[in-house]
């Protein structure tokens, strides 16, 4: 199926595709098998941990055992001199004056936190690196770390999101008046509506909390830095989502010109946001490699990841909503706290999450009066990093719990309440109350279809039966059934107009792609983002195929290397299919023109009489293959016309969507759960997603992204939580403490697609990478609360663990 910009609305494809690999075409819309699979299935991928260089040293870090304190002394035994390094070594004149990592924003009132690569005077979270030690092996480096002693003056730790901003809280950055990076606010028609709201028949207030999580890609972060003498360049091999951004940040810290640095990401074992930042350990390794002229490697182990990288998702909301008797929401007021951790990370800053809370809280709903204040709170925890879905997972949970509360208070069906408040298709394109430009789509229809797919009537019947049983049988025998929904829209591929206002170190603009036809007529395309599971080696090749008719197997996608690719802000924000995809299309179209120029000459046809088809230039009479054209240009230039384009078959072209405010994919999720009141155990019985990602470049890959995101959302809903004790000690250092959903915890998930093309993108595609992770906590939480409604229990804290449910049930006086 080639995908024109026409309307495909209503052309559903259910996730259960026929086996990929035998599509009628191999271009846009085909479930092409992944090109990256073969090497990975043979164990021949190349991840950072698989690489080594001669003379390589391995780094281990002495990490702060305390969450907050002043460093009084660091004792390093004499025999470790030259292989144990501190902040003083790096930042001092002898070390070249390495600068702190600075991620400012242009937002008024933002407080700047400088993050030293190694802790300077203070430590601000447990796990913060203090001393770097190098040895021949990681094991030996860990041995040596044990010989280091650091003397601290301990300070009270801010472990709680609200406590950190309470009067008298110890200041984390002592030149600040309070532990707040930024206060974000919005007020739209709220004060003006005050009297009307006060008179509203329905008013509900809720407190919602989401836990601090750890992204936990299966491969930890890792890097190897080495100085390449022959090009006089520092090369940083690193498991990153954004090599070009890392290069800029590293150059700033090390005081090097960017031409002196190359950043390369090999195979990367999952990212989800954790690999979308410049990391202190990267700065340390790069510095040490330059100083020692030895390759320096660091691999984040799981313990380090759980302790020092538990860095996302932690929100706290207090919200009030007003509605009329029909459940039409009249106004929303919220005060939110986002636990942003100790430092502002490069490049996203400490405030992205809080600001997104303010701008996204109304979600897909048309809410006429709105007020929200969000504090980006500084705490003694690892710095917050945007995790798949970013603030929207918390926001969706918050607003969907509120919608459900409104329905309950008004005595209305929650689906009907949603339908009365969702932005309607005839309103599209729609500017939301916070200024988000929803591009296209039928949000209510996705919900109606989800209700149909989940089989609401049958679920309700089953629910009644379970409740009847609960009244008669011992409660331990009775599981209660619940049904819950959630709807969201997901802004992706944000452009300049969205990001310039933040004033953070990175503003996405144009995206480029390099295209090079090789002498044998195959194609290399070079993009500056990075594929680490998103299947771009396949999907971008499909786009090339769409334009040039060249089989994806004959297209190489080169990515993740600053030396080989055009600048890009990288892979984040559900942007690659739109931005890199658009750039690949532009470059291939430009390549087509070059090919047509030579091809027309070889065919002795007028240029405007030839076209591209199936890797050939086709003229009125006959055709010439790309292979022949490429051969001619590179190896038989004598056969070119005199006015041949000297640029040949190697070019860079750029792309930007016609409107750069982002694509808005959306979905409705519906979950059926069974809850055992006696134990708090929850089983997800059924899970349905009706989503609209516009035109799907590879439906198999899209479904894979949704399934994967949903599993992460289920983790948020039920399992994943980094708890801290009152001294800021993280209480999970293994996967036995921090629980990721396994195969046994994943329910059957059914997906249906609506395909409303985006009017603003090259093929009508929308960013969909994050969506799956956004709605599950809301849908599952609503289902749990539906199941327990008869017992007088409503849980609004994620994850909704058995213990939390039992606490609520015990508090509500439920037997036993």
């Amino acid at each position: 199926m080639s995908a024109p910009n026409g309307v495909l609305n209503g052309a559903d494809s259910v996730a259960d595709h026929p086996a990929a690999g035998s599509p009628s075409t191999r271009g846009v819309g085909a479930p092409v098998r992944r090109k990256e699979d073969a090497r990975l299935l043979e164990g021949r991928g190349r991840f950072i941990g698989d690489m080594r260089f001669p003379g390589q040293l391995e780094a281990a870090f002495y990490r702060s055992p305390i969450a907050h304190g002043r460093i009084r002394a660091i004792h390093i035994p004499d025999h470790l001199r030259g292989r144990a390094f501190t902040h003083a070594d790096m930042a001092g004149p002898a070390g070249g004056g390495v600068k702190d990592i600075l991620a400012r924003t242009g937002l008024p009132g933002f407080r700047v936190s400088a993050q030293p690569a190694l802790a300077a005077e203070k430590v601000r979270f447990a796990g913060e690196p203090v001393v770097m030690v190098l040895a021949e092996s990681r094991a030996e480096a860990e041995d040596l770390v044990e010989e280091i002693e650091v003397v601290f003056e301990e300070l009270p730790a801010n472990h709680d999101i609200l406590g950190a901003v309470a009067p008298g809280a110890a200041l984390i950055h002592e030149d600040w008046p309070e532990n707040v990076f930024l206060v974000s606010q919005a007020e739209r028609n709220f004060e003006a509506s005050r009297a009307m709201l006060d008179a509203a028949p329905v008013k509900v207030t809720r407190t919602v909390r989401t836990a601090r999580q750890c992204m936990a890609p299966l491969e930890g972060k890792g890097c190897i830095a080495l100085f390449e003498r022959h090009v006089e360049q520092l090369t940083l091999w690193t498991s990153t989502q954004m090599p070009h951004i890392v290069r800029s940040g590293l150059a700033e810290c090390l005081g090097l010109e960017e031409r002196r640095i190359r950043v390369v990401a090999p195979d990367v074992g999952g990212g989800f946001g954790w690999k979308g930042l410049l990391q202190p350990e990267e700065v340390c390794c790069a510095w040490a490699a330059l100083r020692l002229d030895r390759p320096v490697k660091w691999l984040e182990d799981r313990r380090e990841h759980l302790i020092a990288a538990a860095n996302c998702r932690e929100h706290h909301y207090v919200m009030t909503a007003w509605a009329d008797a029909q459940g039409r929401i009249l106004g929303l007021d919220a005060r939110a706290h986002v636990d942003a951790g100790a430092y502002s990370v490069y490049p996203f800053s400490a405030c992205l999450e809080g600001a997104q809370v303010v701008s996204n809280l109304p979600g897909p709903y048309d809410i006429p009066a709105y007020r929200c204040t969000a504090l980006s709170v500084c705490s003694n925890k690892p710095p917050i990093v945007p995790y798949r879905g970013v603030a929207r997972t918390g926001v969706c949970t918050a607003i969907e719990f509120m919608v459900e509360a409104v329905a309950r208070a008004a005595g209305l069906d929650p689906v009907e309440v949603r339908l009365r408040n969702l932005v309607r298709p005839e309103q599209m394109p729609f500017r939301s109350i916070t200024g988000k430009d929803f591009d296209m789509g039928d949000y209510p229809e996705s919900l109606r279809r989800a209700r149909e797919m989940i089989g609401e009537a049958a679920v309700r019947a089953r629910q009644k039966a379970s409740e009847a049983k609960g009244e008669t049988a011992r409660e331990t025998d009775a599981r209660r059934i619940g049904l819950g929904y959630a709807v969201y829209c997901e802004q992706g591929a944000h452009g300049t107009s969205v990001y310039h206002g933040w004033g953070i170190p990175m503003v996405p603009g144009f995206e480029q792609c390099g295209a090079r036809m090789t002498p044998d007529g195959t194609l290399e395309i070079r993009v500056g983002n990075q594929s680490h599971g998103q299947s771009m080696e396949t999907t971008l090749a499909q786009i090339a195929c769409e334009i040039l008719g060249l089989d994806p197997e004959r297209v190489n996608v080169v990515h993740g290397d600053t030396a080989l690719t055009p600048y890009s802000t990288g892979t984040w924000g559900s942007r690659s299919a739109v931005m890199a995809g658009g750039a690949v299309a532009s470059a291939c179209e430009a390549m087509a023109e070059r090919l047509k120029g030579i091809g027309a000459h070889l065919l002795q046809a007028p240029r405007d009489a030839v076209r591209i088809e199936a890797a050939q230039v086709v003229g009125p009479q006959g055709s010439v293959s790309f292979r022949e054209i490429a051969h001619t240009f590179y190896r038989a230039p004598q056969n070119l016309p005199a006015d041949a384009d000297p640029g040949g078959l190697d070019l860079v072209a750029g792309y930007r969507p016609t409107v750069d405010t982002g694509t808005f994919s959306y979905a409705s999720h519906a979950a059926v759960v069974a809850v055992t009141p006696a134990t708090g155990e929850v089983e997800i019985l059924d899970y349905v997603i009706v989503e609209d990602g516009g035109v799907l470049i590879n439906p198999m890959v899209v479904d894979g992204q949704i399934y994967g995101g949903t599993a992460q959302g289920i983790g948020t809903a039920l399992y994943e939580e980094m708890t801290y004790d009152a001294n800021g000690q993280p209480l999970a250092s293994t996967f036995a403490d921090y629980l990721l959903p396994g195969a046994g915890e994943m329910p059957p998930v059914r997906i249906a697609h609506m395909q409303t093309p985006s009017p603003n993108t090259r093929f009508g595609q929308k960013g969909i990478g994050e969506g799956g992770a956004i709605a599950p906590p809301a849908a599952i939480g609503n289902a749990i609360n539906d199941a327990l409604a008869g017992l007088g229990v409503e849980v609004t804290t994620c994850p909704m663990t058995p213990r939390r449910l039992r606490e609520a049930l015990a508090g509500a006086g439920s037997a036993p």
Partner: protein, 393 residues
Amino acid sequence: MSLVNLTVNGRAISANIEPRQHLGDFLRENLLLTATHLGCEHGVCGACTVLIDGAPARSCIAFPAALEGARITTLEGLADDPVAAELREAFTVEHGLQCGFCTPGMLMMARDIVLRRPGAGEEAIRHELAGNLCRCTGYVGIVRAVESVAARHAGAAPVVTRGTEVAPSAFVSPLTLPVAGTLVSKQAQDAVTPKAAPAASADISFETLHNPVRMTQHFEVPAPLGEVWNVFQQPEKVVACLPGARLTAPTDGRSFEAEMGVKLGPMAATFRGAGTIMADEATLSGIIRGQGVDGRSASRVRAELTYRLAPLQDGSATAVAVEIAYELKGPLAQMSRGTIARDLAGRLTEIFAANLAAALTGVPAASKPAALDGGALFLAMLKGFFLRLFRRG
């Protein structure tokens, strides 16, 4: 170093291996077989799964030194295994991988499932795959892939892979075989010089505890108040009542240096540090403060023991009220099963009380303060005393 003989992917390997090197590292670092991935190094995620004598096992918690004679098969060694080939095809058809990091371990486990449970259905497969984490796919494609291959084998005789042989690859590619012998571990360095005692007292100041765990305990000692009071003024006696604790320097009666070893199962820590004793005879109360560091893990504990004495009845016995407040920080604190620490603390406290009573009455305590085997961990101690937290009294 141990000389170990193994068969890896059909090739005999003899190597001198440090006992502490785990199999995953040995395969990857020494033999350059990097298909085996390390995702957690504590046996949970399954990315490092290999076959040991035919059966799936975690290579991150197996040690080659203990595997003399074992036959190891990595994903490289299944290059032309027919079931592995079916699985690879199914994984790509069903989109069973994204980043690919968990994939080698998944394939290892999937092969075992197909052989051991031919025809296994979705639920059984989900259960069998529970020990292999994937963060990308939501397991949907993985489960479908395994299910499709298992279905093709339905009706076949189950092959229990425990202890079975895996045929080496017929076509031997350089990637299949380990790089033999060229990269055996170098001689381990001599043990590192023992760490000097912590830079100690000079660096120690006794600050208030910020957010301690508090526990109180009351017990009676069959001795007159004066005797009990005297014991509390003598660090050497107090410390002697604490299992695993001892003074490390002579004390002046006001301050002391001590260490305390705590063991819990296989875990052990030794906290070294210093403390002070303050007493107010007027109120028959006092406070003992201490703090210490387990140098190897950099874990640290600070604790205060506040005691209050009261004479009982005819004065032949004394009521002791103790409040323990402690903060444990660092790696030993960073785990979720905190109630275990309290359990340990409770048992330490009981022994402390028994020892104290015994010391005061001259009757040997029922259980002698050997370093509370079994217990150790976290909590610990400090310098001196007891800290231990009791459970609520």
